[in-house]
Point group: C2
Chain length 293, copies 2
């Protein structure tokens, strides 16, 4: 199935916030589904999203999703597993479920503890977002050209994986596969550790010193202004890989401290040079590098 | 003396790069000096800066600066102390010297070891810069509205401190005073530690993982792309205060690791909330927050 061929009758979005709303907007723009059901706990907010034109129907009872061909679950990462497990249990054998969680292992584990139908869940992590929240900031281009990591499960049927892949490609994303464990280890380093380092530096710089801070502080600590509740959930859900990454960071800083204390300039410079070299491998294409978790 | 009254016959800039050239441009734009002498080791580069109109005269022998009323030394931080000591010894009692060093204690110490005339040196740190280097990128607005930290010495005559203060105000900077030690401790936290954290994270993220990195990685590690030689010099010159700051960072990360490993979500969230709160105290005014060391 080519990207342009993805077309279904009913798509459901569970959790119509920034990311869920942006997925809905892209689906609508590209005419990938005949109708979009928005599901959530807050009927009033969903109704507003419907009036905005992001979704066609509002549902607050999971049974309303029984007929959906694909459900995209966009709830907070520490609720995903339960939400997916519940949805697997109330939907038909022809319904596939994917998600947007920035941590995969506990989501898969919780969902499979709740449901024997985990084969219908094809986990995904679209790396896209913004520091803004809520469907009011959603737009059809949020995911475009960004990377979506697919973490297929060994129980998934290959044709279901390809179907879900064609969905993510259909809204304009590049798709790359990792195992669940590879994903969580990679993101611990590329996303969660930078956030932790930013927060730790921000934590250490008292307000009375901020007059003396400039762009180095500004950029290094920017993400520390992010939502503590969201990041507590991410850190907690990915505690194992993040603990490993944090230990590596502590070790690196201890090595640096030894070099600094012994006046070993060549070792300090070698450390900075390797950091510079790796950082230069990052292609800083603004339009392709969305804010994300 | 008010800001607008600063006016001298001869100003000398030692090291006509980005910052030295930008100071020259601002002095010229605001007509603060009748002539500007550019001093350095590379006659050809200085001649180019003269042709560009940044300076009036080129000098490669320090004796040529004997008649300058004020010398602004803009050489790399690990050469500043020696350059200033040497200049104090070849200039007249009416010549004052200031600098742009991002570390102050070793500069003052080295200069005072070389010269008995340290009273004529009024140290300064204009917090302004760019990731670009060389006088070709210099411009009169680089320092405008940025903060210049003055670290007067107890040997300085009060009128000399006020004279140098009026110079920095004259090129459009806000001026704030700290002691040499306060400056170095403050900058270790607000500038050097963010750079170290950025480099350490960049150091830990292998090239093959960069596909999975987004804006969190991009901003947190941005300064790691900076010049390793420059930052090795800064780190080495400020090794004491930076070692203290690094130890604090390691301690904070260890505390975080304990909370993470024990599943203490409320402690993780409290840590993130304090980081967020402090980061929000930073007024992110783009035009006032220059790239700097």
């Amino acid at each position: 199935m080519s990207t342009t061929e993805f077309q279904i009758d009913t798509l459901a979005i569970v959790g119509v916030g920034l990311i869920g709303g942006s997925i809905a907007a892209a689906v609508r723009q590209r005419r990938l589904a005949r109708r979009i059901i928005g599901f959530g706990r807050n009927h009033e907010r969903l109704e507003q999203a419907r009036v905005c034109g992001l979704i066609d129907e509002v549902a607050t009872q999971p049974e309303a999703l029984a007929a959906a061909r694909l459900i995209v679950v966009c709830t907070p990462v520490d609720r995903l597993g339960k939400d997916i497990g519940m949805l697997l249990n109330v939907t038909s054998p022809s319904t596939l479920i994917t998600d947007v969680g920035s941590v995969k292992s506990p989501v898969v584990q919780q969902a499979s503890e709740m449901s024997g139908q985990i084969d219908r869940f094809v986990p995904a992590h679209p790396i896209a977002g913004s520091h803004l929240q809520g469907f009011e900031h959603a737009h059809a281009e949020l995911c475009r050209d960004r990377l979506c990591i697919l973490t297929p499960l060994f129980r998934n049927r290959p044709e279901d994986v390809e179907f879900v892949r064609s969905f993510w490609k259909g809204i304009g994303m590049r798709v790359s596969d990792l195992s669940v464990e590879e994903h969580d280890r990679a993101l611990a380093l590329t996303s969660h550790l930078p956030h932790l380092a930013a927060s730790a530096v921000a934590f250490l710089v008292d307000e009375h010193l901020l007059d003396y801070a400039a762009t180095g502080y500004r950029d290094t600590t920017r993400v520390a202004a992010g939502d503590p509740e969201l990041w507590t959930a991410i850190f907690s859900e990915n505690s194992g890989p993040l603990a490993d990454a944090t230990s590596q960071l502590i070790h690196t800083l201890q090595e640096f401290l030894t070099a600094l204390s012994s006046g070993d300039r060549s070792r300090i410079q070698a450390f900075l040079e390797l950091g510079q070299q790796r950082r230069r491998g990052f292609h800083d294409c603004e339009q392709g590098a969305g804010e994300s978790t």
